[in-house]
């Protein structure tokens, strides 16, 4: 199981079922600059992750509030296949309680909208 951060560095982690991404980053002290600013309360977009199709499909239905925060996230994707050989990606907020499997990418966020 691993994360790929914005500098394309691979960070390997172990995972237990039932943990959220956010928990995993926190518990394993993975330093991702500015990650989890609102501490998992769906009030920012800094834990935005891009998952592969298989992983994304395992998530529960997305709610309005999660979509609202995703609207602020940098590098939001629908279905995009980046370079040949890289998996198709979708976006989700990583505070969902579901466990993820498969590869996952994490991009940190940049500009939000104007106030």
């Amino acid at each position: 199981r691993y994360f790929i951060n914005r500098d394309r560095q691979k960070i390997t982690t172990s995972c237990a079922k039932g943990n959220s991404f956010l928990d995993r980053v926190v518990d394993q002290n993975i330093y991702i600059d500015g990650f989890g600013a609102c501490e998992g309360t769906l009030a920012c977009s800094t834990c935005h992750v891009i998952l592969d199709q298989k992983g994304y499909d395992q998530l529960g239905p997305i709610i309005d509030e999660e979509n609202d925060m995703l609207d602020l996230a940098f590098g939001l994707t629908h279905v995009s296949s980046e370079l040949p050989g890289l998996p198709i990606q979708r976006s989700g907020v990583s505070n969902s309680p579901f466990a993820r499997r498969g590869e996952r990418h994490r991009r940190s966020d940049d500009a939000g909208p104007t106030l």
């Binding site: 500015g34 600013a37 920012c44 509030e65 602020l72 939001l76 966020d109 940049d110 104007t114 106030l115």
Partner: protein, 505 residues
């Protein structure tokens, strides 16, 4: 002194222990661990001016990236956190969670907080540059753009900055006493701040009384006669600057109904398919609230609602109209616009038509504005920012900037966070390349403390702030609120001194 005070002392210490126990997860969250290494004498000393998000995020990145950097944060008020404390709406407490990461930074061994120090008055930027290897200006935007129309000075007309400062306990706005005895309030501007103001004006008091809104604002809102809030913008529905979360909160606000003119949305539905996702979802929600026929349940809810809100588009303020006694606002005269151009180049153009709206409260929410803090700092008065390249202040070695004073007053906390990290990276790059010389020995905070003492200025440390924090929390608990903010700088200084017999406020 006596046993009474000693007993209070014990309670405070116990509270601090309990707080840190609760903070276990938060500590792990932010990974800003307080290493107890002492700072080598040859360390780089960096001074940050401004204790809001920009200041704290810049400090965080600096101390986390290099172990030989010492960072001192100077803040004008005795209390830290800037707009997170004074700007974020009281009913958005989760947005304030970033305070936990700032607290971690402030408590880091190589970081210290100095409140109650006015840079530009108590100490100059030049003096800071003498004492430190680098100075980062992160003092934000304490001014606001004015409408520049006649009647702007009438009673009942406020900038959103001051109105928000009033309900959030900013000391300089504590005496605002806005008159809420009118039925209609008009807000100019359609960004998130405008929506915050609308929401606070119309929220049920039962919801507000559980937040950290100031007591005097709560009391005033409980007596308020405001029943209708218009949120007015120069351009059209596709140009609203607010984001969907805030719009959704208005749509879902208990006891209120949306009231908008369908004619102002002509042609909008047809544009939806060509819009980027965030704008598309926002516009869909706006259309739903403005023109869609509600279902039975929603219709009933709206019929019961006693308060109303709505956007008005293509309107620009020309004049605030006075009451017959010429003292207060009684209405606002608006120029009617039409839009020209399309896409990013859409512009509002006057049609020559004019419209008067009766109202007793006018709040202009058209932007904050940075001000010059010290004549030694270059300042672009047209853009109202410090001229810089990637955070390096132009033509001034050793001077950097981050946050709103660098980029302009827009963006959410996460925007400022990334911007601050960028400035920190630039500064660290300069150290690495040698363009910022950190080989000389600089006095840092010791040098500045000596100056401040001579001038009779008493800085407030972070642990002093924690005493203020404790007391505010204690006062809030009695009322079922997260805290009751102190409104007076004198009171804050008094509180921060409480347990030191030698200390004078």
């Amino acid at each position: 002194m006596s046993t009474h005070k000693a007993a209070l002392c014990k309670v405070q210490i116990l509270k601090l222990f309990l707080t840190s126990a609760r903070c276990g997860r938060i500590t792990r969250f932010h990974g800003v661990c307080g290493l107890s290494t002492s700072t080598p004498a040859s360390s780089a000393k960096v001074c940050i001016v401004g204790g809001g998000p920009a200041g704290f995020y810049t400090a965080q990145h600096l101390v986390k990236t290099r172990t030989d950097v010492q960072v001192d944060i100077y803040e004008r008020l005795p209390v830290p956190f800037g707009l997170v404390r004074f700007g974020v709406a009281p009913d958005h407490p989760e947005v304030k969670n970033v305070i936990n990461t700032f607290t971690q930074t402030a408590q880091h061994a190589r970081c210290s907080f100095h409140g109650n120090v006015r840079v530009g008055k108590d100490v100059t930027v030049e003096e800071l540059q003498e004492a430190y290897h680098a100075v980062v200006l992160s003092y934000g935007a304490e001014g606001n753009r004015t409408m520049g129309v006649p009647g702007e000075d009438l009673a009942g007309v406020y900038s959103a900055k001051d109105f928000v400062g009033w309900y959030n306990g900013l000391p300089r706005n504590s005496e605002l006493r806005p008159d809420l005895s009118c039925e209609t309030a008009v807000i100019l501007g359609q960004g998130n701040v405008a929506l915050d103001v609308a929401r606070i004006l119309l929220s049920p008091v039962d919801i507000l009384k559980k937040t950290d809104i100031t007591q005097h604002a709560l009391d005033a809102l409980a007596e308020s006669s405001v029943r209708r809030v218009l949120i007015v913008g120069r351009r059209g529905p596709l140009q609203v600057a607010c984001t969907i979360k805030e719009l959704r909160e208005m749509v879902n606000l208990p006891g209120t109904r949306p009231e908008m003119e369908a004619s102002e949305f002509e042609g909008i539905a047809e544009t939806l398919k060509s819009l980027a996702r965030p704008r598309k979802r926002l516009t869909e929600l706006l259309l739903k609230a403005a023109i869609e026929t509600p279902g039975e349940e929603e219709l009933e809810r709206r019929n019961r609602a006693e308060r109303a809100w709505g956007f008005r588009f293509l309107r620009k303020p020309l004049e605030v109209l006075p009451s017959t006694d010429l003292i207060r606002a009684a209405g606002i005269r608006l120029a009617v616009n039409r839009l020209e151009g399309d896409g990013e180049g859409v512009r509002a153009v006057a049609t020559g038509e004019v419209e008067d709206v009766e109202c007793g409260l006018v709040i202009s929410s058209i932007g904050y504005k940075s001000l010059l803090i010290d004549p030694a700092v270059p300042f672009d008065t047209r853009k109202a920012i410090i001229p810089n390249t990637m955070g390096r202040v132009q033509q001034t070695a050793g001077l950097y900037c981050s946050g709103w004073v660098k980029r302009g007053p827009t963006g959410v906390i996460a925007t400022t966070m990334n911007d601050s990290f960028d400035t920190a990276r630039t500064l660290l790059q300069d150290i690495g390349k040698g363009t910022l010389d950190v080989s000389t020995v600089k006095p840092g905070s010791q040098g500045v403390s000596a100056l401040l003492e001579k001038r009779g200025v008493k800085p407030v440390s972070f642990s002093d702030w924690e005493k203020i924090d404790s007391e505010e929390t204690r006062r809030g608990e009695i009322k079922g609120k997260p805290r009751e903010k102190m409104l007076d700088v004198g009171e804050m200084l008094q509180q921060s001194c409480d347990f030191l017999p030698s200390c004078k406020a």
